[in-house]
């Protein structure tokens, strides 16, 4: 006993050092594993508040860009609206069908108050949280593509797992085809992502557009992602496919958070399936 105590006293700084290192490594491992509540995140009152203050200043320098983005989106939506009036069937026949108007998705506007794209595990911070109805695992998009998935939430802020994160796996498909794949990132260039798990039967060429697949409850089908720029084949399968994003991940301003109203029902159904 005497020896143990004298050992502890002799090496107290080293033991204390080890303790702190183990604590730090635990936090690191916790943050690298997906789907776990994380203690260290920037969605708290303190860090979120400071980022919001900083963003108040930064926002002014990007106002022109953000305005143009919003203008583009407006024009695109107006064009889509004007196409609908050409459909003569909807003019002459009045259909009273409440099922037809059942809403599946709703969108919440938010602002990115902290953006990262130079690390291997990138996270964003947005200025909407539990008070605004934001939960973990909701999709985040902007007018030109997908951004990520909400990860941890506090009352007024949320962190977003960026698509530029090695833990991110998003179901995507080809615009002109029915084949599905997974969108991943190898951590190198923040404009180039990789398409994985695409079967060799899929007939692809450079310049093909990739959109979200809608096979998960997070993103609706058909949100643009990017276009194919490189295809590497090996042993009669696709070794890797590089995709250039439509989005510039280094300059994103206003975003939308997607709420899926059917999510709970689908998740419950799938849980029952797993329990059987």
């Amino acid at each position: 006993m005497q020896q143990i105590i004298s050992f502890i006293i002799k090496y107290k700084y080293f033991l204390f050092f080890l303790l702190l290192e183990i604590l730090a490594l635990t936090f690191t491992i916790q943050s690298h594993s997906f789907h776990k509540s994380k203690f260290v995140n920037s969605a708290n009152v303190f860090t979120g508040g400071i980022y919001k203050k900083i963003n108040n200043f930064k926002e002014y320098t990007n106002l022109r860009n953000h305005n143009n983005q919003l203008l583009d989106e407006n024009v695109r939506l107006k064009n889509r609206l004007s196409k609908q009036f050409l459909d003569s069937s909807s003019n002459s026949i009045t259909v009273i069908d409440s099922v037809k108007y059942l809403q599946k998705y709703s969108y919440t506007p938010a602002k990115i108050i902290n953006n990262q794209y130079h690390k291997k595990y990138n996270y964003l911070t947005i200025n909407k949280g539990i008070v605004d109805g934001i939960k973990p695992d909701q999709g985040v998009i902007n007018s030109s593509g997908i951004i990520g998935i909400t990860n941890t939430t506090s009352n007024n802020y949320a962190t977003v797992l960026s698509i530029l994160n090695e833990n991110s796996n998003i179901n995507v498909k080809l615009l002109n085809g029915l084949h599905y794949g997974t969108l991943i990132w190898n951590g190198k260039d923040y404009n180039i992502l990789q398409l994985d798990d695409l079967p060799i039967q899929a007939n692809i060429k450079k310049g093909d557009t990739i959109i979200t697949g809608g096979k998960s409850t997070i993103f609706p089908e058909g949100i643009p992602v990017g276009s194919i720029i490189d295809i590497f084949r090996e042993n009669n399968s696709y070794k890797s496919i590089n995709i250039k994003l439509f989005n510039d991940m280094s300059a994103i301003g206003p975003v939308n958070i997607i709420t899926n109203f059917d999510k709970e029902e689908i998740n419950k159904l799938e849980e029952n399936l797993n329990n059987e």
Binding site: Y13, F17, N41, H118, Y190
Partner: protein
């Protein structure tokens, strides 16, 4: 008392400078100098090393909170905080250091450079190794460590010069 106020001011201002300015530099797309380790370099030398270990852990963890990086910065800062005293003893080649009057900026210039360079390099190496944590990424870890270290060392030396000038 004066020392406590001075060091807490330094602690807070280094965090704010790191978050507001330095994390947005992104020179060549990914280089952000990490000036906040200046705190560990200039913190008064004491026989009791517990306080420095706690403070450096807190410093690293606050930076981690802002960057969503888990505990990588905390692990790296605690590492160099532990290494500081043995390194100083080794560099000065004598076992006795006059603890109460010791001041980093009174070191001979070359010793000071060695001291800053070794601490910075170790910090960045630990930081990027934990962040990437793969044998196949060793080239990226080394290139990021070296490039970021250069910028951090230059910034630390400049801020040390500034701090001394304002004092005298």
């Amino acid at each position: 008392m004066n020392d406590i106020i001075k060091n807490s001011l330094l602690f807070i201002s280094l965090i704010l400078i790191q978050i507001i300015v330095l994390n947005n530099i992104l020179f060549l797309g990914y280089i952000n100098p990490l000036l906040y380790i200046l705190f560990i370099i200039v913190f008064p030398l004491r026989r009791d090393r517990g306080l420095l270990l706690i403070l450096s852990f807190a410093l690293g963890l606050i930076i981690d909170f802002f960057l969503d990086s888990g505990g990588t910065n905390a692990a790296a800062t605690v590492g160099i905080a532990y290494l500081r005293l043995p390194l100083l003893k080794g560099l000065m080649r004598k076992s006795e250091i006059d603890f109460p009057v010791f001041n980093v900026s009174k070191l001979p210039f070359t010793t000071l450079i060695y001291f800053i360079a070794i601490l910075t390099f170790t910090h960045h190496l630990i930081l990027f190794s934990i962040e990437y944590f793969k044998f196949s990424e060793i080239p990226i870890i080394l290139s990021r460590t070296i490039l970021t270290s250069i910028f951090t060392i230059i910034l630390i030396i400049f801020s040390l010069l500034l701090m001394n000038k304002s004092k005298s």
